[in-house]
Symmetry: C2
Subunit: 181 residues, 2 copies
Amino acid sequence: VAPRDHIHQVLQQWRREAPDLDRSAFSVVGRLSRLAQLLAPEIETTFAAHNLSGGEFDVLAALRRTGRPYRLTPTELSTALIVTSGGMTRRLNALERRALIRRDPDPSDARSTLVALTATGRRLIDAILPEHVANEDRILGGLNGRERAQLATLLEALAISVGDTTPARAKDRARRRRPRR
Amino acid sequence: VAPRDHIHQVLQQWRREAPDLDRSAFSVVGRLSRLAQLLAPEIETTFAAHNLSGGEFDVLAALRRTGRPYRLTPTELSTALIVTSGGMTRRLNALERRALIRRDPDPSDARSTLVALTATGRRLIDAILPEHVANEDRILGGLNGRERAQLATLLEALAISVGDTTPARAKDRARRRRPRR
DNA sequence: AAAGATTGACAGTTCAATCTTA
DNA sequence: TAAGATTGAACTGTCAATCTTT
C-alpha cells in the first residue's frame, strides 16, 4: 500500500471522532508546523558542528546577505528574523562575546547601534553556508525540481496572503509616513 | 507590481551576494519555517482565550481524537507530539493540576501510567475545537480549495520522504520485532 | 540491561519595565 | 511622547541523571 504521513492518520482519527469538523485547513497547517518541527533539528546539526545555534546562524546570515559593509541595527535584525528586541539583545551578546559581530555606535542616532560582522564572523558564515545549502538539499532530496518549485510557489502565495510581504526599510518607511501629494 | 513575500527578498539578496549558491532548497525550507513561526502565535490566540498553551492543547487534542476511553501513555503522547519525555511530564503536570487529565496506574505494567481525559477536559477540548478549526480556516482564507489540496499533497510527499510515516503502535511494534516467517 | 517516567540544570524565548535619546 | 536597546522575571523546551519495574 502507498505509505501515508503522520498527519494523514491524525486526519483519519478526526474523521471518525468528529466527522462534521472541516479538516481541510488542518491538512495544511498541521503539516506545516509538524514539518517545521521535524526539520529544525536536522538543519541545526550543521550549525552545531560550528558551535552556533540556529538563532545565531540566522543573525550572521542576515548580516552577510545584506552585503558590504555587513551592517544592520538590532531593530532591523529583530524585525527581519521575527524575534523580540529582548531576544535579539541576547543573541547579539553571545555573538559579540565570541567576536563574531561588533556593536558600533550609530553616528546619526545615539539611541541606536550598528551591528557589524567581524572578519572572523564573515569567515565563519562563509564557511558554513555551502554546508548548510548542501544539507537543506539533502533534506529535500525526496522532491524533484518541479515539486520544489510548485511547493515554493504555493508557500509564497500563502505567505503573501497572511501579510508576510517585504516591509519597506526603516528610512523609506519614515519618508513615506506623510506621503507627498 | 505583483507583491512578493519576505523570503523572495532574502533569495534576491543571496543571488546578489553569493550567485553560485543553489537557492532552490531554501525557497522551500525557508518559507516552511518562516510560515510556521508566523502562524504559531496566530493559532495560539484561540487556545490562550481558554487559558491553554499550544502544547497543552496538543495533548488534549491527541487524547480526544484517540476515541473512548480517551487514554494514552506518556510515551505514546511524547512520540506523537515530538516532545521529549521530560517535556511531556511537564505538560501533564500542568494539565493534571487543573484536572483536565488524570493519571491512572497501568494495570499491565507498573512502570507506566495511563493518561486520560477527565469529563472537564473533554468538555474543554470539545468547546475549543470548532473555534480552532474556524481560526485555521480564516488563516488559510487566501487559498482556495484547489490550492489547499495541492499544498497538502506536496507537504505530505515531503513528510513521507523525510520519514514522518505513521509508526506502528507500541504493541504492534513489539509483536513485529521478531517477524514470523 | 533496558524501558517508562520523573527530576533538576540549562538554553532560548516572550513580556513588561526601565533608561537614554529624539 | 515615542523610539531604540537592555534587563530581569516567567515560560517552555531539551538533556542527562535517576529511580522503579520488566
